[in-house]
């Protein structure tokens, strides 16, 4: 067994599973089974070993089995090495919040991020490049969290200050000192947030350059829109503060804050074709996402010292055999543990005999 793998996984009252135990998992885990047999649900359970709402962005309440009011629970053993195993648990606590236990000790969700990193690709992400900036911004901030665990806290604080400014615009627009106070905080947070994002993109661009030619790098840049003839340096606190102060009257007529890190977008250019991701073919778009994730996995392995755990939901089955083989080779090279789903076992001939294959079709007990 390679180090830093999840070796056992147990689910209790988690969506369609009242009880499921998977033991002695391996570095490559394949989940096959017909639609609705619980493949994504197993990946979702694993995704909860990182801070946040998991790969379906679900409310903790909704992870209970339909119609039952029992609390759900997910437990896993994370092998640092054969002699050192961490027990990770997450469950629905009182007040509908998700609780985390590390070796039975109540811990904050953010602590998980210091132990392991979990990265996923889901079919929902197919829309990432063609839809609006919000999804890409969230995607980026998740990537950032892998390198800066405190990033989500900064985002929350910034969002709170931003909402405060927007409400001031509407309700107390003559309180100049109050604006100054709120904008000062926004500026300090905006700078930290933007610096984290830029540094992350630099990591990702750098580490994608080691990708095989089959997964050509996607060039990532941070993008903000400004009014005509203006450029705004979001890494400069004074500039941001002055900007918001100067634009109070303009923002007042619209009722919200027009510029800032809450409007950031991720610009992605496919390096082979030179085209922006949104005008690539669907196949190319999938490769772009995979390139970023491979680069990210490598960057994390390097900077965090442990490769991340990868969850690929209905990704691999859509690749041709050559890409699939190279992808698996890259991931095994990185020593990342990977969980991937598909509908038929024979779609994965490239993984060889070492894989742990689970047929989910008959797992759900009723």
């Amino acid at each position: 067994m390679t180090p830093f793998n999840i070796s056992n996984l147990g689910l209790r009252n988690f969506r369609c599973f009242d009880s499921l135990d998977l033991e002695d998992l391996r570095q490559v885990v394949i989940l096959v089974g017909k639609n609705g047999s619980g493949k994504t649900t197993i990946l979702e359970a694993l995704s909860l070993f990182s801070p946040g709402k998991g790969l379906r962005s679900a409310q903790s309440e909704d992870l209970k089995p339909y119609g039952l009011s029992v609390p759900w629970r997910v437990k896993a053993s994370f092998e640092i090495n054969p002699a050192e195993i961490l027990w990770l648990e997450t469950h629905l606590g009182e007040e509908k919040t998700r609780k985390v236990l590390i070796n039975d000790k109540p811990s904050r969700q953010i602590e998980l991020n210091k132990i392991l990193k979990v990265i996923w690709i889901t079919p929902l992400m197919d829309r990432l490049w063609v839809e609006g900036p919000e999804g890409r911004r969230k995607f980026l901030d998740r990537l950032v969290m892998g390198f800066y665990p405190e990033h989500p806290t900064l985002i929350n604080k910034y969002t709170r200050a931003l909402r405060e400014r927007n409400l001031l615009l509407r309700e107390r627009n003559n309180e100049q000192s109050w604006f100054n106070a709120v904008e000062a905080q926004m500026a300090s947070l905006a700078v930290q947030i933007t610096k984290h994002r830029l540094a992350t993109l630099e990591h990702l661009n750098h580490f994608q350059s080691f990708n095989s030619n089959l997964f050509p790098a996607a060039n990532l840049t941070l993008f903000h829109t400004y009014p005509k003839n203006e450029v705004l340096d979001l890494t400069n606190e004074d500039i941001m503060r002055e900007w918001w102060a100067r634009n109070r009257n303009r923002d007042l007529t619209i009722g919200k804050t027009l510029e800032g890190p809450h409007k950031a977008d991720l610009k992605v250019v496919h390096s082979l074709s030179g085209r922006p991701a949104q005008s690539c073919s669907t196949g190319e778009q999938k490769l772009v996402l995979l390139s970023i994730v491979i680069g990210n996995a490598r960057a994390i392995a390097e900077s965090f010292g442990k490769p991340p755990i990868l969850l690929f939901d209905e990704v691999v089955a859509h690749l041709d055999p050559k890409h699939r083989a190279v992808l698996i080779a890259e991931i095994t090279n990185l020593q990342s543990q990977i969980f991937m789903t598909g509908t038929e076992a024979d779609l994965f001939p490239e993984v060889g005999t070492d894989a742990y294959i689970i047929n989910t079709t008959d797992l759900i007990k009723n």
Partner: protein, 198 residues
Amino acid sequence: MARKNEIQLLVDQFARLPGLGPKSSKRIVLHLIKNRTQLLEPMVKMLENFTEIIDHCQICGNVTLHSKCDICSDENRQKNVICVVESVIDLWALEKTEIYRGQYHVLGGVLSIFEGIGPEELGIPQLINRIKHEAISEVILAMNATVPGQSTTHFIVEQLEGLNIKITTLGRGIPSGGELDYLDSTTITSALNSRQEY
């Protein structure tokens, strides 16, 4: 459903207090009933007295049974330093360290447009007046490290601009988002000792 009797209603009242749930409330009520003369009766007298005369200190906003609180009345305390806190709980946390011997000002909240709490509601103009008229040489701003707490700090600093007064904030050891009430005295002491000019 049957109508609740008086005892159950009292349990419900206790359960509404911060930090108490239905279980502990039941235990408290039974305990009071059992210890009628030693606990219940003196407590009722005290509370009665409280409801009549408890008020906020007219100078600093601390809670008191007199018009001027113990701290403001204490002639041995330093008069030229004033520490601004969000709530009485924070004042108590600072008092517990026994190293701060100056004056206080309790805001009773923080700037929050969501709750409609602005500078007027917090009495910030009164605070500025007080600082101007009491020959204060240092103002310690001890608001929590939350967004609204820090906005409040920034707001007050701006109001004090141009006055020749040293403005400091609590230093090392206060975690981001941390609230004074949750910190131990050693941490607060070191934060007070390492306070920095704003």
